[in-house]
Amino acid sequence: MPTATFTPTADVVAEATEAGYFPGRHTVEITEVEKLTDGVYRLTFRDAYIAKHARPAQFVNLFSHDPMKLLPRPFGVSEVDGDLVSVIFAVVGKGTAEFSELAAGDHIDVLGPLGRPFNTKTASHYILVGGGLGVPPLIYTAQYLQSNDDVRTTAVFGYRNDHFADRYVSRYADVTSSIDESEGNVITLLDRMEAAGELSRDGLAPVILSCGPLPMMKAVAQWASKRDIPSQLSMEQRMGCGYGTCVVCVVDTVDGRKKVCSDGPVFTAEQLGWEA
């Protein structure tokens, strides 16, 4: 069945990298689409380039097969396995509804990896504070840091109800704790960690990496700021290109309006003016 209008050359990725460029939009094969919980799916595709280059909090643009829907759908990379790349997404509109109906063997157009990653260069205890559909990039952060002996990771995830991502993040994080709305939120968990003296771990000072709904991230940034814990927040905005050329994806920072896709998605609490 003929679909996408976009017809990439035989092997965009190989041709681009050979010529010294980033691969443009290209078509990849889907290897799995799995339902995690109501309205939440995990989609895996084969892309050696993205698998090799993705860094924590970087995202990929997925494109609809419907040429009526031209704009990219950005999703944080949630896991990498060999040359397989996974994203986890919630069905919120027409594009994600379409993606949820894809299956192994189908194809999809992608562009990526995109965005500036979390800064994970310091030897720290990275507390990965995620809410809702902000958790996927934090799963990958845990995975990415797993082999790094100089750091420790603790996942602190808040869910509406089903703890759908715990089984993924717990593969990689040193500690996983999660909570749902019936019990409290990520601040509840952070408070508990503090009370238990677990903010530092193995002598490593805490750094918060967070992704989730805006109110949650603001609360987290302020909570951290009060304790002098540095925090990095991964932001969302509607995008035109995802690679920095159109300036539509802005958030307000203390240095003016910045592009989520290429100045971010990661910003520090200071940049966002979110200190307590």
Binding site: T7, G24, M68, L70, Q237, R238, C241, T245, V247, R257
Partner: protein, 316 residues
């Protein structure tokens, strides 16, 4: 049968077969990038930007502008709505950053100029007068700023005054970029031409909007924005056609919904000397160079058209 269905390797070394000349300036090929959809820092990683016919850069203002708050875009059928509001780091930054870098790469540069007032435009044009920019493109058609922008481009008297003024400030080829949100494009085009425009580019975006049915509120913070992408292609083509009918001699750059060499070719047949690719570059970073390559091949079998373009003439 579609003529361009052999996939093109945009990374392959390519000798351009068909150039164009716009207001005396030679373009390697008739396809440029459209202003606001190209930033060197972003696009250079995806393809050899110097290979474009020309690069029209993001509108520059006398001082840095912060534009509209987010969200700035919404999707629409086969298109998009945007309300960036001309965020840019200002002409001084442009002169030390984007422009020299582009020239160093060997690009033909069209510098897009933005302003809220005649004086704003004049300041920018004056600063660009001695710069290495190859052409200036005066944007009097941005629907997303409340002063200047589109309001000048929809009023032939105001437009004539502005262009007449700018004409005195520079000898560089000056393109005036027109708005489609007007009753009578021929009058506006004529006003620009008579006031000293060397060329016209059209169209800028059509005013439009989207509403989120979950909230009942506009998706874009600015409420309305400008519609671009394939959806506007027939409208853009109609504007170029009408301006060409009204003004047989002025060079025209056709813009709007171009995502293939075939659509570019329609603009050339409508009377354009060159085209620019906008929205398509957003959802497909290498679209501009692909369109240029597809057109280069399509022109092979149209020697009469190709010869006219190379001589600075047009099909109509």
């Amino acid at each position: 049968m579609t003529e361009t269905n052999t996939p093109i390797n945009v990374y392959e070394k390519h000798e351009w077969k068909h150039k164009t000349v716009v207001a005396g300036v030679e373009w390697k090929n008739p396809v440029g990038t459209a202003s606001g959809t190209f930033q060197l820092a972003a696009c250079r990683w995806f393809y050899d930007v110097s290979q474009m016919g020309a690069i029209s850069t993001k509108g520059v203002s006398p001082v840095p502008w912060e534009g509209n708050p987010g969200p700035r875009t919404a999707e629409s059928p086969a298109g998009m709505v945007n309300a960036v509001g001309l965020q840019n780091p200002g002409v001084d930054h442009y002169l030390v950053d984007e422009l020299p870098k582009l020239k160093e790469l060997g690009a033909t540069v069209v510098t897009n100029v933005a302003g809220h007032s005649d004086d704003d435009y004049a300041q920018v044009v004056a600063k660009l007068a001695d710069s290495p920019a190859d052409m200036l493109e005066i944007n009097v058609s941005c629907p997303n700023v409340s002063h200047g922008g589109m309001s000048v481009g929809t009023d032939p008297v105001a437009l004539s005054r502005l262009i007449g003024h700018l004409r005195k400030l520079t000898s560089k080829p000056m393109i005036v970029k027109l708005s489609p949100n007007v009753t009578d494009i021929a009058t506006i085009a004529r006003a620009a031409a008579e006031a000293g425009a060397d060329a016209l580019s059209l169209i800028n975006t059509l005013v439009g909007m989207r509403i989120d049915i979950r909230t009942g509120e506009p998706i874009i913070s600015n409420r309305t924005g400008g519609v671009s992408g394939p959806a506007i292609f027939p409208v853009a083509l109609g504007f170029v056609w009408r301006v060409r009918q009204a003004l047989p001699d002025i060079p025209i750059i056709g813009i709007g919904g171009i995502d293939s060499g075939e659509k570019a070719l329609e603009f050339l047949y409508a009377g354009a000397n060159a085209v620019e690719v906008g929205a398509a570059a957003l959802y497909d970073p290498t679209a501009p160079i692909r369109v240029a390559r597809e057109l280069d091949d399509l022109l092979d079998s149209r020697p009469e058209l190709a010869a006219k373009l190379a001589a600075g003439e047009t099909w109509r």
